[in-house]
Point group: C2
Chain length 280, copies 2
């Protein structure tokens, strides 16, 4: 690739019109689709190597760096698939996954960022958010779960929150998994057509689907207002699963590379320890 | 295999003499070592399929079943390697890993099982314990971190605790990763010989190594007293990494198979939903 995928997929500043993006685009992918499995294997090895260095620093207490991969998208857009096929490429010890569901009554009694803060990855860890604080300006807005004033306040609160995470050594990769209403229909049909997939289906999914335009609008507002220099949004065309997985793996790789991680130095005298070991 | 690996590796009742077990045994492995990578790949696919069913039930609320893979062994015995190479074979969403370190002051203010109980896997989840409550009768015994009477009490408390977990729908797979003092020496040398592995080394490791016979004795007592019918201990020869990984993967597979998991049934009318979707 001539330029990086993160530059190609980062949303430009200004208003967002999701209808202007094709969900089946393969932006930045220069090979043939048939090469994707091999490319994913290579990406997997590179990712695992860099992740081990990040993890090593966390274990050694030599760096406060961490990475947060945040996944948002309409139902069936592929949050679960990315966790299985991309996150599954690295050592599970270094990964911390949080799936945000409907808030509990305890969570609702606190500010919306309370449960999010608790789930931020510690040093050396790649945190995965399967849904996130953005739900509070998405379903929160569409289903009017808070008053207008409070929804308005949240965009700024999110920007401040993410900025503080980056300030503390975090790297945040926000991926909006873009699919079309037709893509979703096809995938819901697949779920209803296979008893091994019934568990992924919920009749409530169709109630949300009926609000597709409202959700697209809510996403457009959130993407515009919360794409900042330090924490930009990436629009990942997700109509093709193989491309979606490759793109998120590649974004993760580029961000890990930019951390310039060396192995932690020994905090003991290597020769002394070799001698101690030899006589042990 | 004529008989199952779980039968072959389960410790027989009665006193345990660890010196009678070879660390480089390949019990139950009938193929050539060169076939191990391919066998692991096949095992990975089978594991991933069964784990998805387990996870599906957890998500659907249709079963309280969960699995706990508990890893214990001397330093360098391969707890981390198993998590990377075996646990890494399944969907990370369905896995919950807990690495038990030296207890915090808060943890010490509670009973030793307090932090363990909180880490038990929920329905549908495969929990991984990287070290466990057994530390409290291992380092606890060797380093006299509690008085004799309290250490004595703990064996029974552990058996009751594990029994209650199984009673509630849990399956527990306790693996003792058996290595020799020579195996450990070789692996510590490897760590001291490679700057990419310094982070895994701690001078304190040699202080523990100096107590090798005391630790072996503490393990023998724990393995004898806490190998029960419902929660037996498996002795996994771990001198050969490829065999150790295969054996733990195979044990996990056999236990998942014994859960007889079908896909959860739909809790909605499939035809009705198909019609709703078609017009959506």
């Amino acid at each position: 690739m001539a330029k990086t995928l993160r530059k190609a997929l980062a949303l430009p500043p200004g208003p967002v019109d999701l209808s202007s993006y094709e969900s089946d685009a393969t932006t930045g992918f220069d090979e043939s689709k048939d090469d994707a499995p091999e490319l994913m294997e290579e990406l997997g090895e590179e990712l695992a190597g860099l992740q081990e260095r990040l993890f090593a620093h966390g274990q050694s207490g030599t760096s406060s760096k961490s990475v947060l991969l945040l996944l948002q998208g309409m139902d069936t857009s592929g949050k679960g698939g990315i966790i299985e096929h991309v996150v599954g490429l690295v050592d599970p010890r270094g990964v911390h996954i949080t799936s945000f569901k409907k808030p509990t009554s305890e969570e609702l009694s606190h500010d919306f960022l309370w449960r999010i803060e608790k789930a931020l990855p510690g040093p050396g860890i790649i945190g995965i958010f399967d849904r996130s604080h953005y739900e509070d300006v998405l379903i929160g807005r569409v289903r009017k779960l808070a008053d207008d004033k409070d929804i308005e306040r949240r965009y700024g609160a999110i920007n401040d929150f993410e900025d503080a995470y980056v300030e503390g050594g975090g790297t945040i990769i926000k991926c909006f998994l873009h699919i079309s209403a037709d893509d979703q229909k096809e995938r819901l049909q697949a779920r209803l057509g296979d008893p091994a997939k019934y568990w992924k289906y919920n009749p409530g999914d169709l109630d949300e689907r009926a609000l597709w335009p409202e959700y697209q609008k809510a996403y457009e507002i959130a993407l515009e207002r919360c794409s900042t220099e330090r924490a930009p949004w990436f629009l990942v065309p997700s109509g093709r699963k193989w491309y979606r997985n490759w793109a998120v793996a590649q974004l993760l790789l580029e961000h890990l590379e930019s951390l310039d991680l060396e192995w932690p130095k020994a905090d003991f005298d290597v020769e002394t320890e070799k001698k101690r070991l030899a006589t042990s």
